[in-house]
């Protein structure tokens, strides 16, 4: 089990090195001189030369690449062009907000998705199954930013019930105890609901399929033949086995979840990595964009490792060290 996870960790590190390499290559491929971009149109030739030297652009490509990798490893990610703050500080403030939003959304959408998928598999072919299938395909197809705007329209402008922007109110610093927590939760409600709603559809579709595959296997027939009630067969025998492909899906769906989070963060001004990335892109703040890309990839890699660990734990066959068939 640990050997397999160790191999996964090595793959994850390879992915991160790949991302840093990719950002380096793209920066060199893109039009324009990075030094000129940093200094703006009013820079003189002497300033440009000095800046190029400072950035190491007058060195051979291999040396530049080595220096680029070295700076990333040391955490020296440069200064944001737009804000003048160190990139590392900006992202250090941002990543907990993203992990909080994505993690909670993952939890809620998998719990609800499991419930909906199990219900559909149990009532297969019924009107309820069809209705829930239509609902999950529709949720799967709705763009997150649009769903977010519609929720804002209903809950912020019409019902005047929930705030639409940011992670905390303007008076958050003055609040204490339960009032502060309530303020946080109210701000979390709409972004979390948006990200969760678009997630449930995919999970429910997959759980339904996985359960129907499991239900067709002989051990489920045996359980039924023993006279177990259908609910026990479904929950204790089928669901547990269907959980393994579902946990694998969790790891595989993390990149898509992060993609969704980028838009949701942009719509709700949620102070996470996605918003930093979008604002960096809009301001052509490329040191920030490069680092935000790498941090997003790192979060996905770590999330994948956790999902792998969970899938390994859920499957007793791999827990004992043998590979699952």
């Amino acid at each position: 089990m640990f050997a397999a996870l160790g191999r996964r960790a090595v793959t994850g590190i390879a992915v991160l090195v790949g991302v840093v390499t990719l950002t380096f290559v793209l920066l060199r491929l893109s039009p324009g001189d990075p030094a000129a971009r940093l200094l703006g149109p009013s820079a003189t030739a002497a300033q440009l030369t000095a800046q190029r030297h400072a950035l190491g652009l007058d060195q051979p490509l291999a040396a530049q690449y080595a220096a680029w990798l070295g700076r990333f490893v040391r955490g020296d990610w440069g200064t944001s062009v737009a804000t003048g703050r160190p990139v590392r500080a900006l992202l250090g403030d941002a990543w907990p907000a993203t992990v909080c939003l994505v993690g909670l959304s993952l939890l809620v959408s998998y719990l609800l998705g499991l419930a909906v998928g199990a219900l559909q598999a149990a009532r297969r072919g019924s009107r309820l199954d069809t209705a829930l299938s239509v609902a999950s395909v529709t949720l799967f197809a709705i763009p997150g930013y649009w769903l977010g705007l519609m929720l804002v329209m209903v809950f912020t402008y019409w019902a005047r019930a929930l705030p639409a922007f940011g992670a905390a109110g303007l008076d958050a610093e003055l609040l204490v105890g339960s009032a502060r927590l309530a303020d946080r939760l109210r701000h979390l409600a709409l972004p979390l609901a948006t990200l969760t709603l678009i997630g449930i559809g995919g999970v429910a579709r997959y759980v339904r399929g996985a359960l129907l595959d499991v239900v067709a296997q002989p051990f489920v027939t045996t359980a039924r033949a023993k006279g177990l009630p259908p609910a026990v067969v479904l929950l204790r025998h089928a669901l547990r086995n269907a959980l393994i492909p579902v946990l694998t899906l969790l790891g595989l769906s993390l990149p898509a979840l992060f993609s969704g989070a980028v838009f949701v963060e942009a719509v709700f001004a949620w102070p996470g990595v996605g918003r930093v990335l979008v604002e960096g892109v809009q301001a052509r703040d490329y040191p920030l964009v490069m680092a935000a890309t790498t941090v997003s990839a790192a979060l996905v890699v770590v999330g994948n490792l956790l999902a792998d660990a969970a899938a390994t734990w859920a499957d007793p066959r791999t827990r004992r060290g043998r590979r699952a068939a």
Binding site: I142, P143, S259
Partner: protein, 285 residues
């Protein structure tokens, strides 16, 4: 084909997609014809759906803050959104099939290299890659096609790789080789045509995905630039007028969701019909 259309999901998807393509193609005929027209900025702005302005112009979906007809912009925006997404998917299918076929049919180092690149690209959030690319080049419709194509080929490559590997071990491939067909001919004439169905399914899903992402990029101001309408920048411009004119943002979003649902259902239906045929009815369709 007949079985596909007798499937409710398949016929729904096909009808919705055909209607959308028709409206986009016939936009000059079915609308007022000029998406950027601002005939009466003050008098005709923020008219609700089904309203008639004081010049007698009828607006089935209302008007936006410049008095532009939302239905006209929706149809012309559909032209942009659909053509950008279709071109992008075409690009990713070509790249995906090429990479997948090469990885599936070649042996040794090349396979490992291609699969490594594919898995690497699959492990990254696609939107993050899109934003990275969009930040380095100036925004345009052509850039959207390129970046969507460049970030969308991996699933298709994986699929084709798997199919080619399975098919290459089948007896008919062996007999083609025994008859003296070269490797390229075997791949092109015998293997790839048989690997097409899963690619078609993946393409249907990819079109839906590309439409959503194109709109997403335009929504963030990194895709198709106003005043050219696209569904994404229409949603973005409706964002500021959510309170007094919710239809401006709602209409393109609903159109988008409808088309994506249609693509998903059509893809599902094709897959089930295909499985039903290959498994000889053993699997339920």
């Amino acid at each position: 084909m007949r079985r596909l259309l007798s499937d409710r999901r398949g016929s729904f998807g096909a009808v919705v997609l055909c209607l959308t393509l028709f409206v986009a193609a016939a936009a000059p005929v079915v609308t007022t014809g000029t998406p950027a027209a601002q005939p009466d900025v003050v008098g005709a702005r923020f008219l609700p759906p089904l309203a008639t302005d004081r010049h007698g112009g009828f607006h089935p979906l209302g008007t936006d803050r410049f008095g532009r007809d939302v239905w006209t912009r929706l149809a012309y925006g559909g032209r942009v959104s659909l053509s950008v997404s279709l071109l992008a998917v075409l690009l990713s299918v070509v790249v995906g099939v090429a990479v997948g076929a090469a990885a599936g049919y070649a042996t040794g180092g090349l396979t490992l290299l291609l699969l490594g690149i594919t898995d690497f690209a699959l492990a990254l959030p696609r939107v993050v890659l899109l934003l990275l690319l969009a930040s380095l080049w100036p925004p345009s419709a052509a850039l959207v096609v390129l970046v969507l194509g460049a970030t969308g080929w991996m699933t298709i490559a994986r699929l084709v790789h798997g199919e080619v590997r399975t098919l290459a071990a089948r007896p008919f491939v062996e007999s083609a080789t025994a008859l003296g067909a070269g490797r390229a001919r075997v791949l092109w004439r015998h293997i790839l045509p048989n690997a097409l169905t899963p690619v078609i399914v993946a393409t249907a899903l990819a079109v839906g995905n590309a439409i959503m992402l194109e709109a997403g990029l335009s929504f963030l101001g990194l895709g198709v630039q106003p005043p050219t309408p696209s569904w994404g920048n229409m949603i973005a411009s409706g964002r500021d007028t959510l309170v007094n004119a919710p239809w401006v943002a709602a209409a393109p979003g609903l159109a988008l969701a409808l088309v994506v649902v249609a693509c998903t259902l059509l893809g599902d239906a094709i897959r089930d019909v295909y499985h039903g045929e290959t498994a000889d009815g053993k699997r339920e369709t």
